[in-house]
Each structure stands twice: as structure tokens, then as C-alpha cells.
């Protein structure tokens, strides 16, 4: 399948999706029709990118950040930050769809059924019919003591991995929520978890920068990667800061990227720099990727684009999106965003991405060359 004709230098906001409460996490569904965001009002918001209709998923009693998808159709695959890109919605990508499908025609757009799984800071998992008019949680599972910080669905969509503040990584049946295995070994809060695209291993990363690779079948620990550059014990405040806030495998599984904050001089003011570390999974060697500018803040999301570029997003007072060429540690491009970015999601057709922000907006960017379809409330920021 040919790669989508994207141009990172053409990246620009196509749609601004708004919610009254600050947003936290975001993910596109497997078909790419919806963007799901989590919010500080404990809700999950489903934005229909075809109609711009917003639907609330209510049930969590705390914030949630982990989102994953289980499709029921063979043509649907999960979207995570290590997503692969073989599913164009149509020839021109998501934004051509936007231009050609009127909002009133939303009922005409076929839905591909899928299940959304969300995890919250009370340690609870919830399963939802992702396409229902008014989604209601169909299953709730107490998964962790304390925060459930992240989750991921296996490439074959059979397993769900979760991690949290109880220092544990857990494997579940993605279809019915039955526990399968608990992976013990972390000694601090586990911030992130991701399945390798090959499906045989998964990695988890904790507050203190320990990245562990596990064998999925047995739960056996295989090796440890060093991301301690993300951690600092700030003796002035007597507290730890760290964690890999965003984590993603490259589609071929050769690389693992993680992002967070480093060079922290004041943990309680968030004075530090965002950083991306890319591990070569063959030998475990790490390479640091830094923004060109001396920006202070935290990296919250990372992913691989179809053209091999690495993308990361984060912020502090403002948001930033950074791009790196393969094998070049100097960032190739950067976008300013008017609010702190708290997560990054890549669209399954490979032509777009979204960021969720503190100001309650989710900005959906297109990377397709040419004019963008400007919505009434969109912020179009053309880049030369």
C-alpha cells in the first residue's frame, strides 16, 4: 500500500474540537471516524469528525487517560501510539471525507463497530460500545490500586495491558476483562505500557526511568532499558519527578520511543526540558532527540509517522509539536499550539494527528499538502 502523501511542513490545524473542561488524553478509533478525549470533568468525549457531533461517555468517577480499542470486524485494527497505517478511510484521507460529507448526512456514514476500553485514576477499567448513540459502560473492572495510568491493546486485539501506581503491569482478556497475568518487578509508579507490534513482548516504563521488556506468553522479564534521564529526585522539594509520559513503538517494531521531562531544576514549578528517547530494540541502545529551542515543559505524547518521521507533543504554558527525521537527532520542524498539550494521537489513515489541550480544545491537524477544509471555528495555521 502506498504511503500517504504527507508533508510535515504542511501540518496545520484543520479542526478545533471544544469542550468546557480541560482535556487529558486522546485517541482516534480504529476507523478514524471518531476522536475520543478524556477530560478533567471525569467524562470521555467522543467527537465525530464527519459531523462534529460531540457525545459524552459518562461513568468514570475520576480522570482517565488510558484509551484502547477492540474491533469486532476483521478490517478494523486498534489504534495506539504505535499504530500502523494501512486503513485509509478514502482516497483523500480524513479531511477529504470532511469536505465531501455534510454534517446532516451523518446517518449515512457507515459505522464500523468497536469497543472502547478506558482506564481511570481510581484504578477502574470500563468497556463501552464505541459507536452507540449514547454509549454506556457495559463492564467495569477494578484493575489497580490507585491510578491506572495507561493501557494498550495487543496487535491481535485479544489482550489488554494496564499499568498503575501499584507498581504493577497486568494483562487482561480484552474481550471480557478477565485477569490473565500480573507482571511484578517495578519499584515505583508505572507510567506507561505498550505492546510490541510483533505481539510477543510488551514494555512498561516507571517513574524512575526503568523500562522493562516482558514476554507476553509467560510474563517473564526479558531485559531492562535505561530511561533514567527522565527521573530526578528533587532534594529541595523532597519529591520524585519523572516517568515516561508517552510511549510508542515504530510500526516495524525496531524502535521504541518515549517522552517526558528531563534536566529538571525545579520539580514543583516544572522547570525542565521535554525530551524524546528512542531505543533501538535490537541492542537496547538509546538516542536522545531534543527540540531545537530551549523550551521548558514536558513531553506528553510520541509516535511514528508513515514517512518514518518521529512526532512528539507536550508543553507547559503553551504547547509544542516537534518532528524529527529518521536518524537525525535535531528536530526538523516545530509547531506552536496556544495551550499546553497533554496527549497526542495519530490518525489511522496516516495523514492527520490530534492533540488534546488544557484549554479544552482538541486540535486535529492534517499533514496533507494543499488547502485544508476550514471549519468555522477552526484555527488554520498554514506553514510555509
Amino acid at each position: 500500500m502506498p504511503l500517504p502523501p504527507i508533508d510535515i511542513m504542511a501540518s496545520r490545524v484543520a479542526i478545533e474540537l471544544k469542550h468546557p473542561s480541560p482535556l487529558i488524553g486522546c485517541r482516534f478509533d480504529p476507523s478514524g471516524r471518531y476522536l475520543f478525549t478524556t477530560a478533567q470533568d471525569n467524562s470521555i468525549q467522543r467527537f465525530d469528525l464527519f459531523t462534529l457531533k460531540k457525545t459524552a461517555l459518562l461513568g468514570h468517577s475520576s480522570w482517565s487517560r488510558g484509551l484502547g480499542f477492540v474491533g469486532t470486524s476483521a478490517t478494523i485494527m486498534p489504534i495506539t501510539q504505535r499504530a500502523t497505517y494501512p486503513i485509509p478511510l478514502n482516497q483523500g484521507g480524513i479531511f477529504n471525507a470532511l469536505s465531501s460529507i455534510a454534517a446532516a448526512a451523518s446517518s449515512q456514514v457507515p459505522n464500523s463497530p468497536f469497543t472502547l476500553i478506558s482506564g481511570d485514576y481510581l484504578g477502574e477499567l470500563r468497556w463501552w460500545d464505541g459507536t452507540a448513540d449514547v454509549p454506556i459502560a457495559t463492564r467495569t473492572v477494578k484493575a489497580h490500586e490507585g491510578w491506572l495510568r495507561a493501557l494498550d491493546v495487543s496487535p491481535d486485539r485479544k489482550l489488554l495491558a494496564t499499568c498503575g501506581n501499584d507498581h504493577l503491569v497486568k494483562l487482561w482478556s480484552a474481550s471480557d476483562g478477565k485477569p490473565i497475568r500480573t507482571l511484578e518487578g517495578h519499584a515505583s509508579h508505572v507510567y506507561n505500557v505498550a505492546f510490541h507490534p510483533g505481539g510477543k513482548t510488551l514494555v512498561s516504563a516507571d517513574l524512575k526511568g526503568f523500562v522493562k521488556e516482558w514476554e507476553v506468553e509467560t510474563g517473564k522479564p526479558l531485559r531492562e532499558l535505561d530511561a533514567k534521564v527522565f527521573h530526578k529526585y528533587d532534594s529541595g522539594f523532597a519529591a520524585d519527578i519523572g516517568g515516561i509520559r508517552g510511549m510508542a513503538f515504530s510500526p516495524d517494531g525496531q524502535f521504541l520511543a518515549g517522552t517526558g521531562i528531563t534536566n529538571v531544576s525545579n520539580a514543583f514549578a516544572g522547570v525542565g526540558n521535554p525530551l524524546v528517547i528512542q531505543f533501538d530494540m535490537k541492542d537496547g541502545k538509546a538516542k536522545q532527540l531534543k527540540p531545537k529551542e530551549a523550551f521548558q515543559g514536558t513531553g506528553w505524547g510520541v509516535g511514528y509517522l508513515p514517512n518514518g518521521y518521529l512526532i512528539a507533543a507536550g508543553g507547559a504554558g503553551q504547547g509544542r509539536i516537534w518532528f524529527w527525521k529518521p536518524d537525525d537527532p535535531a528536530s526538523a520542524h516545530m509547531l506552536n499550539v496556544p495551550a499546553n498539550i497533554r496527549d497526542l494521537a495519530l490518525h489511522p489513515d496516516g495523514t492527520a494527528f490530534a492533540v488534546s489541550c488544557f484549554n479544552g480544545s482538541a486540535y486535529v491537524y492534517t499533514m496533507l499538502p494543499g488547502p485544508v477544509v476550514a471549519k468555522k471555528d477552526a484555527i488554520a495555521v498554514p506553514k510555509k
Binding site: S21, P22, Q40, D41, N42, S61, S62, W63, D120, Y121, L122, G146, W147, N165, H189, S235, G236, F237, A238, A239, D240, I241, A267, F268, A269, G270, T298, G315, A316, G317, A339, N340, F358, N359
Partner: protein
């Protein structure tokens, strides 16, 4: 025996105190750390005659929403839930599960408005009961407590601060006009000032001779040129001598390992255990600082970490004081310089907020289980029984049996113990 709230120079008190000390000296176990039954019995004896105060200062400003006044499900509530406590109808943040089990021993004041978001000024108001006055310095609560509750015969300084870092030493400034005798001694990380104890190479005899010479010269100098500075100097030597004589009290390694486990094997746990040992030894006032809560960034992660340290040692201290019969004569106060903004900022942080926040208290003179004051639905304003540092200062001393409307008379000038424009929160007093 009638309790004497001021000088405590009654014969009954002296005898009882002497009996307590003599009794404790009889057992080797007491010499080795004042643990076990002897300690408990001695503490109970001491508790009848002396009132004490321990302040746990959550430095930087702990969030009231993550502690005593949670607002889950609101725009300001954050991700944590509220949990029930041992007092029906009273809920606190889930980050304090052990504290919640002891709510029937505590009091919450939820309507504090100190109107000052500056760290230094906020701390002064909370420790002196007055807003900072550039023209006049008021004594800190520890100095006032040492002055009004001390027996005058203590074998340890009456005003001790345990800080997580910095240097150990003697601080004359926090006693203001009360004088250096009531100023605090800082035990940084629970350790005495450097070089306090006699070096091994110096014989006891040589040390005594050296000290005698120092005293002689000091007395001669004081006769002709006595000043506040020389007084402070002399007091610092006296305080040091007390520590030298009772150095074992600082050795928390002498405690039962199970006790150390209950308090937690971390700095704050050690410091709280040391506080208990000092109170048991008759120290009138101990302030333990727990740092840090100034969470402008990632407030929730940091409160998990900090309150995860705070919860168990605080509960252990309350439990130990209660089991030793000391809680009814010891006022426990958990305070900070202010609270934190209900609004959650872009970095998941909370900023300084003095307009609507809370403290917890326990023990002496308080109506255990009481909650006074109320904030609105999302915690941005006080809606019921608003109080400030002045009200709190009156309340502390009223709870300790002191008439806080009386005056000190430095240089014959009347200075009210507490802000005369405020009054005690009588709803929480027995």
C-alpha cells in the same frame, strides 16, 4: 493536683516530675530509649502535669482539596475521591486512609481565610496569629507555648523544631520579646547542632574545666555589659548543655524496630518518632516540618508522594499519644502557610490560595470529631464560619487552658497573647 497553666512552680508539680524522672532512671529500658511499659507509665504521669504542643507544618502549602476538604466531581476536585472517616458524615481525601481512621480524635477547621498568598507572610501569620508587622515582631507559637506551658525545670529545651534539611542551631528571633530562653532549637534532619557533643579526645575533666572558665568569663562580662545578644549567647549554651545531658533522646535507633516501621523508614517518619520521644521527655513544643507541598506543577502526583509519607507517621503519632495517655494533654496541629488554588492550572498544578483552606487539630482541649467552617461547592470561598490566623491562635491556647486574651508585659508594655481583634473558635473547644 491542680493544673497550673503558667509558671508551674507548684511543689506538687516538682515532686511529681522528680518522681517521674527518678522512676524512669530505675529501669535500664528507659535509659535506653524510654520504650515499653516504663515509658508508657511515665508518660501518663507526665501527662497529668504538663501540656504540650506539636505542630506538623506541611511546608509549601498542602492542598486542602487533597487533604481535609475534598471536592470530588467538581471542576476543581481533581482526580481523587473522598473517603469516609471514623466520624460519620465527615469525609477527607483518599490520600489519607490512616488519618481517616482516627478522625474521631481530630478536629477540622475548613473555613480559613488568611488573605495572604505569600509563603513567608503566610507562615508568620499561622505561627504568630498575626499578619506580619514591620514595626513589631510577635513571638511564634512555640515560644509562647514554651513560656506559658513550660515548667521552668525542663531538662531539654522547651521549643524545638525538626526540619528536613538546613542547619541545626539555636534561633533567637522566633521568641521575639519573650527572650532567647524561649527561642527554638533546630534539629535539622533530627540531628543536634554540629560539634555539640564533647570530642572523644577531650577528657571529661578537661571539658569541665574549659566550661567553668567559659562561664566565669561570661559571667564577668555579663555583669558590666549584659545585652540581648549576650543573653542569647548564654541561653544557647544552656540549651546545648541540656542536649548534651540528654543526648539519648535523639537516638531513635533505640526504638523498637516495629515502632520505627509504624512511623515509616523515611525522613519524615524518623522525625515524627523523634517528636514523640521529645514530647515524652517533657519538651513543651515541637514543630516538625514536612516538605514540600508547593505544587505548582503536577500537584496530584506530588501529593500522592508527600501525603503517602505523611499519613502513616501522623496516624502513628496520634495513636501513640493516645495510648500513652498523652493526647488529652497534647495539642496536635497540622498546618501550612496557606492552601492551594481550587483551580487546576495547565501543568496539573495548584497555586497559592489563602482564601479558603483548612487545618486539622487533635488532642488537648478539643471537641474530638468536630468540623467547623464550610466552603462552597468547588472550594473557592468560605461560606460558613470564616476564620483567620488570629482566631486559630486564640483557639490553640484556649484549648491548652491559657486565657489568650491576657497580656505579656515586655518592658511594662501590654502585648496581648493573641490578636485582640479575634477570638477562639469555641465550637471546637470542650
Amino acid at each position: 493536683m491542680i493544673w497550673c497553666p503558667y509558671s508551674c512552680e507548684t511543689a506538687e508539680h516538682r515532686v511529681t516530675r522528680r518522681a517521674f524522672l527518678g522512676g524512669s532512671l530505675l529501669g535500664a529500658g528507659s535509659l535506653m530509649g524510654f520504650g515499653g511499659l516504663t515509658t508508657s507509665a511515665a508518660a501518663k504521669e507526665l501527662s497529668k502535669s504538663q501540656k504540650r504542643v506539636v505542630v506538623i507544618f506541611l511546608s509549601g502549602g498542602a492542598s486542602q482539596l487533597e487533604t481535609w476538604d475534598p471536592k470530588p466531581g467538581t471542576d476543581t476536585g481533581g482526580p481523587f475521591k473522598a473517603i469516609p472517616t471514623s466520624v460519620p458524615g465527615t469525609h477527607i481525601c483518599e490520600l489519607l486512609p490512616e488519618t481517616a481512621k482516627l478522625m474521631h480524635r481530630q478536629v477540622l477547621v475548613r473555613g480559613i481565610n488568611t488573605t495572604d498568598d505569600d509563603h513567608g507572610r503566610g507562615e508568620v501569620q499561622m505561627l504568630t496569629g498575626r499578619k506580619p508587622d514591620p514595626a513589631f515582631e510577635y513571638p511564634h507559637i512555640g515560644a509562647v507555648a514554651a513560656k506559658l506551658l513550660g515548667t521552668g525545670t525542663e531538662e531539654l529545651p522547651g521549643h524545638i523544631q525538626i526540619t528536613p534539611n538546613g542547619g541545626s542551631g539555636f534561633n533567637k528571633q522566633d521568641a521575639a520579646f519573650l527572650g532567647p530562653k524561649f527561642a527554638s532549637v533546630t534539629l535539622a534532619d533530627g540531628k543536634p547542632p554540629a560539634d555539640l557533643f564533647r570530642p572523644a579526645a577531650l577528657t571529661t575533666t578537661a571539658d569541665q574545666e574549659r566550661e567553668a572558665l567559659r562561664k566565669k568569663l561570661n559571667d564577668r562580662f555579663a555583669k558590666s555589659r549584659r545585652t540581648a545578644q549576650t543573653e542569647a549567647y548564654t541561653e544557647s549554651y544552656d540549651q546545648a548543655a541540656k542536649f548534651i545531658a540528654k543526648g539519648d533522646v535523639l537516638s531513635i535507633g533505640m526504638e523498637d524496630p516495629k515502632t520505627a516501621d509504624r512511623y515509616g523508614r523515611h525522613d519524615f517518619g524518623r522525625h515524627m518518632l523523634l517528636a514523640r520521644r521529645l514530647l515524652e521527655q517533657g519538651v513543651t513544643f515541637v514543630k516538625v516540618t514536612h516538605t514540600n507541598y508547593d505544587t505548582h506543577h503536577e500537584n496530584f502526583d506530588f501529593h500522592i508522594e508527600q501525603l503517602g509519607e505523611f499519613d502513616r507517621p501522623y496516624a502513628a503519632l496520634l495513636t501513640d499519644l493516645a495510648e500513652r495517655g498523652m493526647l488529652e494533654s497534647t495539642l496536635v496541629i497540622v498546618m501550612a502557610e496557606f492552601g492551594r488554588t481550587p483551580r487546576i492550572n495547565e501543568r496539573y498544578g495548584r497555586d497559592h490560595w489563602s482564601k479558603a483552606w483548612s487545618i486539622a487539630m487533635a488532642g488537648c482541649g478539643l471537641k474530638a470529631g468536630a468540623v467547623v467552617g464550610k466552603t462552597n461547592a468547588n472550594g473557592t470561598a468560605v461560606t460558613e464560619r470564616e476564620v483567620h490566623g488570629g482566631h486559630l491562635f486564640h483557639t490553640y491556647f484556649r484549648a491548652l487552658g491559657v486565657d489568650s486574651t491576657k497580656n505579656f508585659y515586655p518592658k511594662d508594655r501590654p502585648i496581648p497573647i493573641a490578636d485582640p481583634k479575634a477570638a477562639a473558635i469555641t465550637e471546637v473547644l470542650v
